[in-house]
């Protein structure tokens, strides 16, 4: 048996000098960041600063965009994610992603949650796994009706939670959440935040948000991105009360857009 080493938490995800270009234009520039195991990390920054692009480079979603080029490295549990013989589908199962737009499939709630499991080739009865995922996001109360409900008939808040359940069904090690409460009313937002709060024990969470108060409420660590550069990264409390970077301070005090 190997003893786990004492000291700082192991990084589960890390980038080194990560640069992402779209059609030649760099939107992430030399970003080096470590996401420690089991923590909640927030990425904040102005619109267009590259938050979504950084999230998408953690599970190789950027390469689905024609014209996107990635330089630098991304490691997941010590493995180079962009290595030629890495199975992309497997990467996306281990590092799940919830997009800013829920984009549910126009099918039943059950089919939405089961999609990833079926794609993976999980055989047999999926009800247990589907119900488990729905329970985590508060959409399962024991009544089978919800499974047959059409996903697009749900409220906006329920749709967002269903899109989280869909990713959770695969039991990812890491969950990437892009603006998880964008365009939700306060009550629905509060529900989603409480789900994220509870999920911290299940997996490592990276959260992109343009609401920095949300970063303050939810995350252990916060990174501030500005025009594709990582300006500051550290304990959330520290970064909020005592920002070292001028730009960070301007952003937090509302002097930047």
């Amino acid at each position: 048996m190997v003893m786990s080493a004492p000291g700082p938490a192991l990084p589960v995800l890390s980038t080194e000098r990560l640069t992402v270009r779209f059609d030649g234009r760099a939107v992430l520039k030399d970003v080096s960041i470590e996401i420690p195991l089991g923590r909640v990390v927030s990425i904040i920054g102005p619109a267009g600063s590259g938050k979504t692009t950084l999230l998408r480079s953690f599970n190789r979603m950027n390469e689905l965009i024609p014209g996107a080029k990635t330089a630098g490295t991304v490691h997941f549990q010590g493995v180079d994610l962009y290595d030629a013989d890495i199975d992309q589908a497997e990467v996306r199962r281990r590092i799940g992603m919830v997009f800013q737009k829920a984009t549910l499939f126009p099918k039943s709630v059950f089919d939405n949650v089961a999609f990833g499991l079926r794609a993976k080739g999980v055989e047999g009865d999926l009800h247990g796994l589907v119900e488990e995922a729905l329970t985590v996001v508060g959409l399962w109360s024991g009544g089978a009706e919800v499974l047959d409900a059409r996903a697009l008939d749900l409220t906006a808040g329920e749709q967002r939670r269903l899109s989280i359940a869909r990713a959770l069904a695969l039991k990812p090690d890491c969950l990437l959440l892009d603006e998880p409460t964008a365009a939700l009313d306060p009550a629905a937002s509060a529900k989603v935040e409480s789900i994220i709060h509870a999920l911290r024990h299940e997996c490592t969470i990276v959260l992109a948000t343009s609401d920095h108060t949300q970063a303050g409420r939810l995350s252990d660590l916060t990174a501030y991105l500005d025009s594709g550069r990582l300006m500051e990264y550290g304990a959330t409390q520290e970064l909020f009360t005592n920002p070292r970077n001028e730009r960070t301070e301007s952003y937090l005090t509302g002097r930047l857009p």
Binding site: N59, A119, A167
Partner: protein, 268 residues
């Protein structure tokens, strides 16, 4: 504005059908749709031509739809946007706009003489297929591109392979538009007279084609042949054959509508 335009279009269609029915009133009865053409105008029918058009529709659909949809799926979902792929796409777009008579000349050289098929149903079907495939590809590629990328990302993000994304999300989402695109292309083929005339379609055959090797005959060429005759009675026959052609096209539209209705509610 839109309503007015729709009304004008509708009345034009009704007027057209009305004129055809009046012209064809003497010849239209059940016998007309089954009997072969005759030297005596009043005894002629469109039986062989209807059978020929049905054969052509069936054969063209069976070849052009899988080929065209497959090509469109490859171009829209798989092919990297290299210069070669872009060139192929623009060639197909241009081919889709080539006048049908040009396909007739190509078909005559390639299928009738080159492959020695003669002026047969099969030669006609292959020529119409060549005309239809680019149109199917162009229409279907548009249909696939209309599916928002978010759907693809959502599925990829859940660990789906490209084929799973295409099969489970993109194709179902695009299905109504794909079907409409294929039907539009097939309708063009069914109504085409020029290429078949180039191949040497017959307008006077006493038996309905029973196999793809039988002599080429079809409704549009039959209409053309009768309309070209000077004597009074044959114009009525041409009008009658036009009614038959419109009925065949209307039947294809009905299939489309029925399918749309079924699709409604599953995709928005």
């Amino acid at each position: 504005m839109g309503v007015a335009a729709a009304l004008v279009t509708m009345s034009a269609l009704i007027l057209l059908t009305g004129v055809l029915l009046v012209e064809a009133r003497e010849v239209l009865d059940w016998r007309f749709f089954l009997d072969p053409p005759s030297r005596v105008a009043a005894e002629g029918g469109v039986g062989p031509a209807v059978a020929g058009s049905l054969w052509l529709t069936f054969l063209v659909a069976a070849i052009a739809v899988p080929l065209g949809v497959g090509t469109a799926v490859y171009l829209a979902e798989y092919a990297p946007p290299t210069r070669l792929v872009k060139a192929v796409e623009s060639v197909l777009t241009n081919l889709a706009g080539v006048p049908s008579v040009v396909y007739g000349i190509a078909g005559l050289a390639l299928f009738v003489r080159g492959l020695g098929l003669g002026p047969s149903i099969l030669a006609g079907a292959l020529t119409l297929t060549a005309l239809t495939v680019p149109l199917v590809v162009v229409n279907c590629r548009k249909a696939l591109q209309a599916v928002p990328d978010e759907f693809r990302w959502a599925a990829f993000g859940l660990g789906a392979s490209r084929w799973q994304v295409v099969r489970d999300q993109v194709l179902p989402a695009a299905a109504p538009a794909l079907l409409a695109g294929c039907c539009a292309a097939l309708l063009r083929a069914v109504g085409a007279a020029a290429p078949l005339l180039m191949l040497g379609a017959v307008s006077f055959t006493t038996f309905a084609p029973g196999s793809p090797n039988d002599p080429l005959t079809a409704l549009p060429t039959q209409i053309f042949a009768w309309a070209a005759r000077p004597r009074e009675g044959f114009l009525a026959l041409a009008a009658g054959a036009s009614v038959a052609l419109l009925l065949l096209m209307a039947a294809m539209h009905l299939v489309l509508f029925a399918h749309r209705r079924r699709q409604k509610g599953t995709w928005s």
